[in-house]
């Protein structure tokens, strides 16, 4: 029987009722009394000097309260970058200033030139059209390699070049890696691009700044995955507001996928303007605006080489990547192609020697930062593509080649600085082979061929590092923040609990899954536990939700706080039953004395804590409320094996996904229903990247796919039902729940499976093709076939 309560159960999500009945509270649903509206005038040129801005006509337009430009922000801090990467030569990365409103120059299409605050949004938009801006167009740099050429136009005049950093990892391994390539029996080389994507949570970003002159407190309502991080970054680095005078609220948030981690200029603007104007200021992004102002994802150009010995063992791996940073450094941008990418290049394989080079490049494009998976999809894609190509070159089975090189003993220290605690790569591959019905493939291929279609099967593995992260380690790697998580557990007098967590739920269902953990620990019903999140005023300082860290780090903090609660409750129970504390056991919501029939209910103990008439006041304080901060000892390492089956129409080049199966090892699982849903969503996004999505720039820096008319989001008819399996479970060894994180796996594991399947299909049709760049649109596939 499946459980109906606690860890391992799949209760219906309690958040759903409000979302299904239209009573959620998203940021744009909030109306602050007297709020004004801001519209940002954004550059429609990728690179230009601002020679003048004439506000006269616009300022006189109806309803205009004030128009702000860069000049109003002199003396105000810029948007900070939260991670400093050190290059191969020990030098810090180049870090340009990032003003709230453009000062002197615009550097990408979308860069904000002016902000019009008016009584209504329509008045603000109308007035923006009357602003005269004298832009002197400059050559734009878009292509990364061209941006690094001698004499290239510089995005930032005060930097030495467009190179942010040249990172080598592990630098001292390079000679040994090069030597291994010299000695290799076979070398497989592949050049590829990881296409630029736009995260596209369905809720566009919104910010409302408010200011209370009586208390001097500023409040920002914002669509954020991490309100405390925004409070710290914006308060300390941009506006100079101490935390006790700044409240950040992220209520119901309609998806994040990374792009709502970062601190954006619009948040700082609304908070600043609310104080300057003494009234609330609201900004709601349109979707078109989101395309040119939300941080983008991916955009790597890579050459990868794999060396094998005569027995097909991997002996060395070498990769060179150009990573696009866009025009400015977004909050965590420098960490994505480096520490979230290079450290994953071992994948599931015992390759002994690895060297990763990454050149991060400034261009006149929207800033690029973390998008679901962040660095790990880029690592997985190149590794799993080159392994597949090697198998084809050597004429061996792609699954057999992978299995032969799997890491099988744990803990395993990779040559790229991380230590996998647990895993069972054969186990997930076994589960996948069972689901994917490999033995029936040839018959399915014949059936497709009978219809005039080509059919292909693609498989890949993945490993990821989640639960970011040990603070002392990431501090050494350049993080300018700690990456612990927090929880306060408050027990009420009548026994109910409220958990105030630093994690943030924007689709993940924490309000449902977190109570399951506490219900299991105490032996009570989940309905006795409520989760509070998203408001710095009533949650402890926490780092928020990204990198599949909520349960592994935030859940662990909640466990630690609950353990403190239970320890104190046992003392109270011991007093009530006149027994020794060491003899007290907690089971099914009751405390008993071991070996006796004495017991007191959970509610009797919690009541005693708040009505301490019969209570050990000389030993412990009244009340039952505890806080814990949990700093993980290591990353967690979910892994898995994915398979995709495609049909290709040779007449049109159209690819259809016929089957997609995913076998994941997430360690222990609290809510299987939610975990499956996370995998489904990730696969949908991965299929989107592989087949459809592309943020395409022209050579002048115009974003060609800047709306849903042009950027192909995956639709229901683009994807099949997915098969998912997480029966292979090797619990994490270093967090109290043994959990690994499941939020990003689908997006990391699925693109290479799709492309491996497409290449397999085309090769089955006699086309000597080893690679097609994503997205594999009909025109790209047709061109590949008709060369």
């Amino acid at each position: 029987m499946p459980k109906d309560n606690g860890i391992g159960a799949s209760p219906k999500r309690r958040e759903d009722v409000r979302f299904l009945s239209g009573t959620g509270n998203y940021t744009d649903d909030i109306q602050v009394n007297g709020q004004a509206y801001v519209h940002f005038l954004r550059s429609d040129i990728a690179h230009a000097n601002i020679n003048g801005i004439n506000l006269d006509a616009a300022s006189a337009m109806p309803g205009v309260i004030k128009i702000f430009t860069g000049a109003d922000f002199e003396g105000v801090g810029g948007i900070p970058c939260g991670w400093q990467v050190t290059d191969r030569h020990g030098e810090p990365m180049q870090e340009p200033a990032h003003p709230v409103l453009a000062q002197g120059k615009v550097r990408y299409v979308g860069d904000q030139i002016a902000a019009v605050v008016a009584e209504t949004l329509e008045q603000a938009r109308d007035a923006a059209e009357a602003i005269e801006v004298d832009l002197e167009e400059l050559p734009a740099v878009v292509d990364m390699k061209a941006a690094l050429a001698d004499g290239a136009t510089k995005v930032h005049d005060d930097l030495t070049s467009n190179l942010c950093y040249d990172w080598g990892f592990v630098e001292e391994n390079k000679p040994a890696v090069d030597a291994a390539f010299e000695a290799a029996a076979h070398v497989t080389t592949l050049e590829l691009r990881n296409n630029r994507l736009v995260a596209n949570p369905m809720e566009p970003r919104v910010a409302i700044g408010d200011f209370n002159r009586a208390t001097g407190e500023s409040t920002l309502y914002t669509t954020s995955q991490n309100p405390h991080v925004i409070r710290l970054l914006m308060g300390a680095f941009v506006l100079g507001i101490p935390e006790h005078k700044l409240r950040v609220v992220a209520p119901d948030v309609g998806g994040g996928f990374g792009t709502k981690i970062f601190h954006y200029a619009e948040e700082a603007f609304c908070t600043f303007a609310a104080k300057a104007l003494n009234r609330a200021v609201k900004w709601t992004s349109t979707r078109s605006e989101a395309f040119i102002s939300d941080a983008h994802g991916r955009d790597h150009v890579t050459k990868i080489e794999l060396a094998l010995d005569a027995d097909n063992n991997f002996t060395a791996l070498r990769t060179d990547t150009y990573a696009n940073m866009g025009a400015y450094l977004s909050t965590f941008a420098p960490s994505v192609p480096t520490w979230l990418h290079g450290t994953l290049m071992a994948g599931n394989y015992k390759t002994p020697l690895i060297y990763v080079n990454v050149k991060a490049v400034f261009t006149n494009t929207v800033p690029v930062d973390a998008y679901r998976g962040a660095g790990r999809p880029e690592a997985t894609f190149q590794l799993e593509r080159v392994v597949d190509k090697a198998a084809r070159e050597l004429g061996v089975d792609p699954i057999a080649l992978r299995r032969q090189n799997f890491i099988t003993e744990f803990p395993y220290a990779t040559p790229v600085a991380v230590e996998y605690d647990t895993g069972d790569y054969h186990g997930t591959m076994d589960a996948l082979e069972k689901m994917a019905d490999l033995s029936g493939f040839e018959a399915r291929r014949k059936a497709s061929e009978a219809k005039g279609k080509l059919r292909g099967f693609g498989v890949n593995c993945y490993i990821e590092a989640c639960g970011i992260a040990p603070s002392n380690l990431v501090g050494q790697l350049g993080a300018r923040a700690g990456l612990y998580e927090s929880a306060t557990v408050r027990v009420n007098a009548t026994g109910g609990l409220v958990v105030m967590t630093g994690s943030h739920s924007h689709g993940q269902g924490h309000e449902t899954s977190f109570p399951q953990v506490i219900a299991e620990m105490i032996g009570i019903d989940e309905s006795m536990v409520e989760i509070v999140h998203g408001d710095t005023a009533n949650t402890p300082m926490g780092m928020g939700t990204y990198g599949s860290r909520s349960l592994a780090v935030g859940g662990s903090a909640m466990v630690r706080a609950t353990e403190k609660i239970i320890a104190k409750a046992k003392k109270i129970a011991a007093h009530l039953m006149e027994a020794a504390e060491a003899d007290i056991e907690l089971k099914d919501g009751a405390f008993s004395v071991a070996g006796t029939d004495k017991s007191v209910a959970w509610g009797d103990v919690t009541l005693a804590a708040y009505v301490p008439h019969n209570y050990p006041l000389e030993d412990i304080e009244p009340g039952l409320e505890e806080t814990a901060f949990y700093d993980p000892a290591n990353f967690t390492y979910p892994s898995g094996a994915y398979a995709c089956e495609v049909e290709v129409d040779p007449d049109t080049g159209k690819v259809t996904i016929e089957a997609f199966n995913a076998a994941d090892d997430f360690g222990n699982i609290v809510n299987p229903m939610i975990v499956d849903g996370q995998v489904h969503g990730g696969i949908g996004q991965g299929i989107g990247q592989a087949l459809l999505e592309n943020a395409a720039y022209d050579e002048n820096g115009q974003l060609l796919s800047a709306s849903y008319m042009d950027y192909a989001m995956p639709r229901a008819s683009d994807v099949p039902f997915y098969g998912v399996d997480h029966s292979s479970q090797t619990p994490c060894t270093h967090n109290p729940l043994g959990v690994k994180g499941c939020g990003e796996a689908g997006a990391i594991g699925s693109p290479p499976a799709v492309i491996n399947a497409v290449v397999d299909a085309l090769r089955s049709g006699g086309h000597d093709i080893h690679h097609i760049d994503m997205p594999v649109s009909p025109s790209r596939v047709w061109q590949a076939m008709n060369g």
Binding site: R13, D16, S21, H680, G681, S707, F721, Y722
Partner: protein, 161 residues
């Protein structure tokens, strides 16, 4: 500004609208019915689907003034007066057909329109019908499953929930 009057979820409601005010904006900002969401500005995402005189409409494709005198149904009017979810809403909860919830109102209103006209749709018909509704969270798996379940079809053979 002119006054616009319509029947929303069975109640007559009025408010001022400019000539350019969209129905989506009127519902959200003038009438305070924020369950109808706006996820794009090109009429692609479908988060704002409502029913106007019984027909599914993207509320961002219609001016508020065009809805004068019509009967509009929104997500707020779908559950029973005591808050009990209707069968379609309940199927979405039962089958985890939503995550962040932002596309959900449009999905429900669009799916209700499908089931009204096609009470037993096939999987392909459901997927085709949702062409104008984008979800970024679920990969559509549990949305399609929930709609098939709401139509009374057995979904137990469809892989995991």
């Amino acid at each position: 500004m002119s006054q616009v009057t319509m029947t929303v979820n069975g109640k007559e409601m009025s408010g001022d609208a400019e000539g350019r005010t969209l129905l989506s904006q009127f519902l959200r900002e003038t009438l305070g019915l924020t369950g109808t969401h706006v996820g794009c500005d090109t009429s692609q995402c479908g988060a704002c689907v409502v029913h106007v005189d019984g027909v599914a409409v993207k509320a961002c494709t219609m001016l508020a003034m065009e809805a004068e005198g019509t009967s509009v149904d929104t997500i707020e009017g779908q559950a029973a007066p005591d808050g009990t979810l209707n069968a379609l809403q309940q199927a979405f909860q039962d089958h985890h057909g939503l995550q962040c919830g932002f596309c959900t109102p449009g999905m429900i209103m669009s799916a209700a329109d499908l089931l009204k006209n096609n009470p037993q749709p096939t999987e392909a018909e459901v997927r085709h019908h949702l062409e104008g509704n984008i979800c970024r969270c679920t990969g559509y798996h549990n949305i399609v499953k929930a709609i098939l379940a709401a139509s009374g079809q057995d979904v137990s053979s469809i892989a995991a929930e």
